[in-house]
Symmetry: C2
Subunit: 670 residues, 2 copies
């Protein structure tokens, strides 16, 4: 296996792809090189890997001889990894080519290509299903043939299936089981050219969702920086760009938010060397060939800058913020962004559970982010209560500020003074007018909906920002959330400020309860544990008797001991538990196998015990529901606890990869 | 007067500001130059004008002598326009300074400053009203003194008033009447630093809305490219940046979507020369001083690129699309964007009526754009009808596509087959079951709400794109629009597809009418004329008898004659009328003075008749409701028609400016 993951965000990843001519960091953009005609040195603009066309070389006697003699790296004068396409593009344009699959694979192997391609059939969008099925059959047969024909050549095998997501899915499943190194997603260019981004999304998700996560995917023909962020966030790792030169020939400047035509430009729109040093008039006054080179340079500058910016966003954990920004550049791209809602399951599965960045709300589309969906699921893990009290939001963290306000205003008799009148949903009966242990107090705020006060400092409930001017989707989201959540309780009491702010339309009656807020440390840490590790984990970890050490500076809970024994620490940056060995033991006792486990083979056992990180190849089983950046238990085949640590991948990735780290071990066992 | 407008969009403008050391194009960013300490040559990054501090020079014996002897341009080695601040900043930081207003103004004049500043009191945000009023009084007195003291020195006079919009407005009104060349908006830095963009918006709008449009405004201390687009769109022309160097000293990279700290960078986030040629590790490995210069260079590169991009957006007419994009970078900036809704009147007034670009919907905030608000007002100019039929939207242009569908599907008996069942709003009585001249047929689509079929090719009803996935704000906007518009009719018939798509919640009953669509050319052109020039204009222009010439290629109406006489032409790009002289005469006869008029003095009369453009200084009166890019009538003092043409400014600007063109004349009279 030639690929490993270094950082993750949404479905995007920064990976390392190993090839005979070096290792390339993904997401990567491969400029298309025309063999024999290339005049621009793409390496100088940041290209680590390029793509060229083996069929063109094969068909040209002179190029063919040179390539056979001196190798392709010599032919196109590039010493990094070279990917070659097989002639499928020519097939899609001219309908027929005169080479067969095994010939072109052998040829690619002979000329020293790093990653070759089998001769798939690029079925166009919107064809009749019968044709798509028939051509897919041939593509699958050729894929199998390719595997048999190749020697050491790394191979692309292209996902086809036209605009039928189920055919794309089938193709991905079948060839995903074969031993290819890269999976391109093919025949999307006509869709990209016509702004059919929603169809591209459906194709990408059908493909990515059915491919092994351990191989890079190449969105073939996607070369415009407008789509890079979105495509990366949906799991595409490789891009090729002939666009940089084609657009330049047509006097067009690519930008991450669209395209400018030179004829319309009064001012250069970007910060690159070309845009900073030339005016549109300078360019218009030049010879076509000179101008073309400069515009191509701009196109490469901006494209590689966008790839760098995307990588930085993955590391920072704000890739989806970048995507939401980029998708404003065209309404159809915004449409596709809104379409992500359909895929929230898979997005949540691959998205890391904890990130460096705060959550920034940028519009209704942010309501589809994995963090929110995950929180909705997290709420179900909390202890069941009888009564729910919903308060309006104050400054974050909510509990602290509510306490502060009450503390600094001793004249406030109770919570009424703070939040206005309280109302009950009318058709629920009032059983118990006094707040007690059977009452859940929560704040209503967007974009996270309902936030029980106990977990209001857990990421990202305290680490998010949203505009104070609400949009209608947010109001509806809150109404839907309350509507769904309220059925877990026998009685709901709601502040009038919540009712008004979110236009709640239940029948209410005024409540006479005297509400007092009394947040208990034990309660709080049990809730956090349940939210983080699952229902009942809090009781299992802390046994009801704790010794809490708080930060002198912030007053926040830091360490929780049982007597002298440290059980867990709350990480200040994101409010979640990092376990001690004793904590890990207690959790391991409580949670049923395979919950929260990563199981390593006997070879790895001594390393795990010493606190060495766990490599994916040593993992023989794991909880498939693990998300990246979670606290996990490391066990052996007998489910004996060896160590614990932070998952770097999700469950499915841990199982699929056999290269790279899977878990960063925190502390060895004894 | 030293300022004229070249292009407009929203409240933004590209202007030319004349100074003793040359003319500068606005929006312009002025890097702050430290006199004596500057090491970076800002000119090479695109600075045409700089700002420095006269008080610092005044207080330093050596600098003072040099400046008095050789002039400030020599002192700071910059041959373009130099703006000097007066020490107000020091006053705001240290509370007291030892120079008085007239001294510092004289000093600025003596050292050859291009634009000096009077010594205002920079009242901080959120102070008590009493203090803000007291300090404002001093600021106003000093402004008056400054006018009296100065010789030929161009002068800034700063708008103060803390966070009280009414005080800012008062200040703008008072000093706006005095003869200052530039109006800075002061003391907003603490707000910008704390992301209080909504407060900044309120201050800017209170200031800009009460300042004469003919002078440039300087948003003092706004130097981060994040806010440039938004500030330009709300009417700010000048910016100063000490940030480029302050951020660099702190290892921070400014970007139009935020700030990166070097310590967190794995990849350089931009396309500029620095980001393309260095890695974060390269920079981290350098000496502080070397690194600082490179980061400052990046900060200048990205800042000037943003200014260029904004200028291009103004020319293209898509500045608000850029603003909506940029405001996603921080939720509080998004909040301010949402706050623009409060200012839709003034935004619409200054926004050109017709633009080059299509309208791109980028989210609920786009519903506040002037084009939509203007359309809602335009609907009121249309002929009153008895009955309203609301159809669902088809591909644009709607009327053409409905006609095509019906034409190509002869089996369709009537509109029911196309749009599903039709329903009436229940509580309205059915008077007349047959479609006739008293029926208005319109399409319901977002973001423009209700589009009568007759005007569906008028800009921007055919020139807009929105995602097919609706957000809740758009649904609500449609419901509100229908709710408001329906009262103009006795009877409303609505397609079930409209009811479902936008969740209409009236009580409906099924309608039995047989609906047929029959679009009549005369009807259509009368509607367009009414929509463009006001109620009754269509009848006045075309007299009910017309001879229509259509494009052979598109089938669209091009020219309308009465017999042999051309009345008007419909411009293909935006579907509005360009008049002939005969058309102008008819419109002039019909519309009451001053409607649609620009009145020129006798000096300009012969030039107007010859078809020369009208300069603002010759205009003695005009219809204050004129928008930029409208078709207007040019008359003399006796209201005799001289010519007609396209307004380049709005009514208020035409009256206020005495430099530059006001109307581009289309054709002289006879």
């Amino acid at each position: 296996m030639n690929f490993e993951i270094k950082y993750k965000d949404a479905l995007g990843r920064i990976g390392k792809l190993k090839t005979p001519h070096g290792t390339v960091e993904t997401p990567a953009l491969m400029p298309v090189i025309h063999p024999g005609k290339q005049t621009i040195d793409v390496k100088k603009y940041g290209a680590d890997m390029v793509i060229t066309n083996a069929y063109i070389i094969y068909k040209n006697e002179e190029l063919k001889n040179k390539a056979m003699e001196n190798g392709i790296h010599n032919l196109i004068n590039f010493d990094g990894p070279i990917v070659t396409d097989s002639g499928s593009f020519q097939l899609s344009v001219y309908g027929d080519i005169d080479v067969d699959n095994s010939e072109i694979i052998e040829f690619q192997e002979n000329i020293g290509t790093d990653i070759g391609t089998s001769l798939d059939i690029p079925t166009p969008p919107y064809v009749k299903r019968e044709r798509a099925e028939r051509e897919l059959q041939i593509t699958l047969e050729r894929a199998e043939e390719a595997i048999n024909v190749r020697g050491n050549l790394m191979l692309n095998s292209v996902i086809q299936g036209s605009t039928f997501p189920d055919l794309r899915a089938k193709c991905a499943q079948v060839i995903g089981k074969m031993d290819f190194e890269v999976y391109p997603i093919g025949a999307v260019v006509p869709l990209l050219e016509n702004y059919r981004y929603m169809d591209v999304l459906d194709i990408v998700m059908a493909s990515v969702g059915n491919l092994p996560p351990s191989r890079p995917r190449h969105l073939m023909g996607a070369g415009h920086p407008m789509v890079f962020a979105f495509a990366v966030a949906t799991g595409c790792d490789l891009y090729d760009s002939a666009a940089y030169i084609l657009y330049a020939q047509d006097d067009r400047f690519m930008m991450p938010d669209g395209t400018y035509k030179l004829e319309n430009l009064f001012h250069m729109p970007c910060s690159c060397e070309i845009c900073a040093n030339y005016t549109p008039d300078d360019l218009r006054g030049m010879k076509k060939e000179d101008r073309m080179k400069l515009i191509a340079a701009h196109n490469l500058n901006i494209s590689f800058a966008e790839i760098r910016k995307i990588k930085q966003a993955i590391i920072d954990g704000n890739l989806l913020e970048l995507v939401e920004n980029r998708c404003r550049s065209h309404p159809y791209l915004l449409d596709a962004l809104r379409g992500l809602k359909k895929y929230k399951n898979i997005l949540e599965e691959y998205d890391p559970a904890y990130k460096k960045s705060a959550f920034f709300y940028s519009g209704p589309e942010s309501l589809n982010r994995p963090e929110i969906y995950r929180h909705m699921k997290g709420l179900k893990k909390l202890p069941k209560k009888d009564k729910l009290v919903l308060l309006p939001a104050f400054k974050k963290p909510y509990s602290k500020n509510i306490e502060n306000i009450l503390l600094n205003n001793p004249e406030m008799e109770n919570i009424h003074d703070l939040v206005g009148e309280m109302y009950k949903i009318h058709n629920l009966e009032i059983n118990n007018p006094v707040l007690d242990e059977s009452t859940q107090i929560a704040v209503v705020d967007y974009p996270f909906g309902i936030i029980p006060l106990e977990i209001d400092e857990v990421y990202p409930m305290a680490q998010n920002e949203a505009p104070s001017c609400l949009d209608e989707d947010s109001k509806k989201f809150i109404r839907d959330t309350i509507n769904e959540y309220k059925d877990n309780f026998n009685e709901i009491i709601i502040s009038e400020r919540v009712i008004k702010k979110f236009d709640l339309d239940y029948k209410f009656k005024k409540s006479e309860e005297s509400l007092k807020i009394n947040l208990d440390d034990l309660n709080k840490i049990e809730y956090i544990a349940d939210y983080q590790f699952g229902e009942g984990s809090g009781k299992a970890l802390f046994n009801g008797k704790i010794n809490v050490i708080k930060s002198k500076k912030t007053g926040k809970i830091r360490h929780i001991h049982d007597g002298d024994s440290l059980i867990a620490t709350i990480r200040a940056s994101d409010g979640i538990f990092v376990l001690s060995m004793e904590g890990a033991r207690r959790l391991h006792n409580y949670l049923q196998y395979p919950k929260n486990r990563v199981v390593v083979n006997t070879d790895a056992e001594p390393f795990a015990k010493k606190g060495k990180s766990i490599f994916a190849k040593f993992v023989i089983d794991c909880d498939i529901n693990i998300r990246a950046n979670e606290e996990v238990l490391i066990v052996n085949e007998k489910d004996e606890l060896l160590a614990f640590g932070k998952s770097l991948l999700n469950g499915r990735e841990i199982m699929d990869f056999n290269v790279g780290q899977a878990v960063k071990t925190r502390k060895g066992g004894k």
